[in-house]
């Protein structure tokens, strides 16, 4: 497993796409901090980038890579290595490379320009989001057999999580306005990794406004470490569950 991961990492580092992604993230982060003297405002802008670009690149890049390396996978399958080791090896390889790109592109500039608790949370959210979207890419890639469908599916996942989902939630809120929706909202949030990440950042940036909310459940959710813990745990779930599902499918898949 570790050997496979190592080969994949070496392979990906050579690819231009990942280098371009790292450079893009670094460019965005540095230019945002250069442009604005207000560090908090910079962090807000970067968090928007993290919410949109990081999931997109993670999911599309991972799916594409899996399909491009399908021959390598077939070769590995013919060897006496368990399928579990192959898949997890691939996950560790791809996940580590994308995480590395994020760390170089965002974490380093953010730590240099604006190190604070908010910045730490932003970095954590970015890392978790990268990993969960790589996980979702694995699910998309194992579920489909040809490349076009796979990439289509992963794009759909991104589009749904980053944009459509919040629209649906807003619609849901408008339609069921008269009902107590606190619990429902917290459950809805946990259904989307991007939302979970956003809530974690909200808890840092807008805590003054969030504390104005009257409901007891929200008070508990926002006012204590409970919200942070909840979001982190569910992010973890979003990393492990799609990966396990992908593993299940991959074990039985006819390559």
């Amino acid at each position: 497993m570790w050997k496979i991961a190592k080969y994949i990492i070496f392979d990906i580092i050579k690819s231009k796409v990942l280098i371009a992604y790292t450079a893009l993230l670094a460019l965005i982060s540095v230019s945002i901090f250069m442009m604005d003297t207000d560090v908090t405002k910079g962090l807000v802008s970067i968090s928007t980038v993290v919410m949109i670009i990081v999931p997109l690149v993670s999911v599309v890049f991972a799916t594409t890579y899996i399909f491009n390396a399908s021959e390598f996978t077939e070769l590995l399958v013919s060897q006496p290595i368990s399928r579990k080791d192959i898949l997890l090896g691939k996950y560790v390889g791809i996940g580590a490379s994308i995480l590395g790109a994020f760390i170089l592109g965002v974490c380093v500039p953010v730590s240099l320009f604006a190190f604070s608790v908010t910045a730490l949370v932003l970095m954590l959210v970015g890392c978790l989001l990268s990993l969960s979207f790589v996980s979702l890419a694995f699910l998309a890639a194992t579920m489909t057999s040809d490349k076009a469908k796979g990439i289509g599916l992963s794009l759909m996942i991104w589009f749904y999580c980053a944009i459509i989902f919040d629209g649906l939630v807003l619609l849901f809120l408008f339609s069921f306005n008269d009902y107590p929706l606190e619990k429902a909202m917290i459950i809805l949030t946990s259904l989307n990794p991007v939302d979970l990440g956003r809530v974690m950042i909200l808890l840092q940036l807008d805590i003054s406004a969030l504390m104005g909310y009257t409901g007891a459940l929200y008070q508990k959710f926002f006012g204590s470490g409970y919200g942070m813990l909840f979001a982190t745990v569910f992010q973890m779930v979003w990393i492990t569950v799609p990966l396990l599902l992908a593993l299940r499918i991959f074990k039985r898949k006819d390559l």
Partner: protein
């Protein structure tokens, strides 16, 4: 002029007291308690209390004397009574630790009570665990300065730190108040000055104003109070260079203004409050040169406020800058700096060329559906806000800053 006159009076008073006799209270001295010394003292004498702990079950100072503590002697009421009551004019009480007054439902037991007096100074005392701290009633020309008032009782058994009722020309300066119900409480108090105080961690309001006209408060800090600061039913209040910070929670405001007319709010800083300033039924208020930063809501101006002006304020990193509850606003916004402003300045005059509308669509949505707070900063919300800014249809048309400043105001 009035302040000058009163300080002159004080100087005269000091002269007189120097001329009088000095009575020393202390262990092994002529007088073993403050009460015994006061009983003997004549007008103009000085009572000097040496370091030590004295039981003081409502010692009444009913003569025009100066009472000084040396090395912070402690007057303790053992939770049985009030500690000290001043009922004579021209008294000065300075340098004591005053502690453990009784709590009560029927009477407001205080650490230091002043009733129907004038020209009294209460300074440099430390009040610890009192029900009401310093209680002024029906008095004139009072100076309360440099005291530390620290309550340690639970909310239901706490009175106000510095309480004044029906007074005029009171100066409250450089005190520090914490752990009480209201830090400073004013009811029917006119022509007074509150200056350089710190009021923090009180159960209810840091400062509570009712029916008190022509007062000024400046350079005070109000921090982390249960409900912030409330100024109600008053006229001609001047609020300058105060700091309001970290007043958090639902219906908790940095500064609550209710039915206030002809007042000025200048040069204050509102930082990390759930709502910076909340205005209801206000008229002719000028809100100039204030800083609103990191608040949930910077300003909440209800539709029943008229004729107020908001100029040269900085709005930075607030979740929402301004909200209102109506569609028509009769107030004027001008020359403010808004960090969310996305306009341009082609003629380089430092003013944005397109007006800024501080009320966002999402702020309106959150007003109707509070649960949508979960969607803050999401892509869909910023999209909606952008669309609304381009073609305003739901947000109040009249709330706008015609000439937003491009640069932050430096102070």
């Amino acid at each position: 002029m009035k302040i000058l006159a009163s300080s002159l009076c004080l100087l005269l008073l000091l002269q007189v007291s120097v001329m009088g006799e000095t009575l020393i209270v202390g262990p092994g001295k002529t007088y073993s308690s403050l009460r015994a010394a006061v009983a003997i003292a004549d007008k103009g004498d000085t009572v000097l209390v040496l370091k030590g702990t004295y039981v003081s079950l409502n010692t009444i100072i009913d003569k025009e004397i100066t009472v000084l503590g040396k090395g912070y002697p402690t007057l303790d009421a053992q939770q049985k009574e009030e500690v000290v009551t001043i009922t004579a004019n021209n008294v000065k009480l300075d340098g004591f630790i005053i502690r453990n007054s009784k709590s009560g439902d029927m009477r407001d037991f205080a650490g230091i009570r002043l009733h129907r007096v004038h020209n009294v100074t209460v300074s440099n005392n430390r009040l610890i665990n009192t029900f009401f701290g310093i209680y002024l009633s029906d008095s004139k020309n009072i100076r309360v300065s440099g005291n530390t008032v620290k309550g340690s009782r639970e909310a239901i058994n706490s009175g106000n730190g510095i309480h004044s009722w029906k007074c005029s020309r009171v100066t409250i300066s450089n005190n520090s108040i914490s752990g009480h119900r209201d830090g400073i409480y004013f009811e029917f108090v006119n022509n007074s000055l509150i200056k350089g105080n710190t009021s923090a961690n009180n159960h209810r309001y840091g400062l509570h104003f009712m029916f008190s006209d022509d007062d000024t408060y400046r350079n005070n800090t109000f921090k982390n109070n249960g409900s912030g600061v409330a100024v109600m039913y008053s006229k001609r209040i001047t609020m300058l260079h105060n700091v309001f910070q970290e007043n958090w929670g639902s219906s908790i405001y940095g500064l609550l203004l209710k039915d206030i007319t002809s007042s000025q709010i200048n040069g204050n800083r509102f930082v990390r409050n759930t709502t910076g300033v909340y205005m209801e039924g206000c008229e002719n208020i000028s809100v100039h040169q204030n800083d609103f930063s990191n608040n949930g809501w910077g300003l909440r101006v209800l539709a029943n406020c008229v004729n107020s002006t908001f100029e040269k304020n900085n709005f930075k990193s607030n979740s929402f800058d301004v909200t209102t509850n109506g569609s028509l606003s009769l107030n004027r916004f001008k020359d403010n700096y808004w960090d969310k402003y996305e306009g341009y300045d082609l003629n380089k005059d430092g003013k944005g060329d397109i007006p800024y509308r501080p009320v966002s669509l999402y702020a309106q949505i959150i007003e109707q559906i509070p649960q949508s707070v979960m969607l803050m900063r999401s892509f869909i919300v910023s999209l909606l806000d952008k669309v609304e800014r381009a073609i305003p249809s739901l947000t109040p048309e009249s709330v706008k800053d015609e000439f937003p400043s491009m640069k932050q105001w430096t102070r």
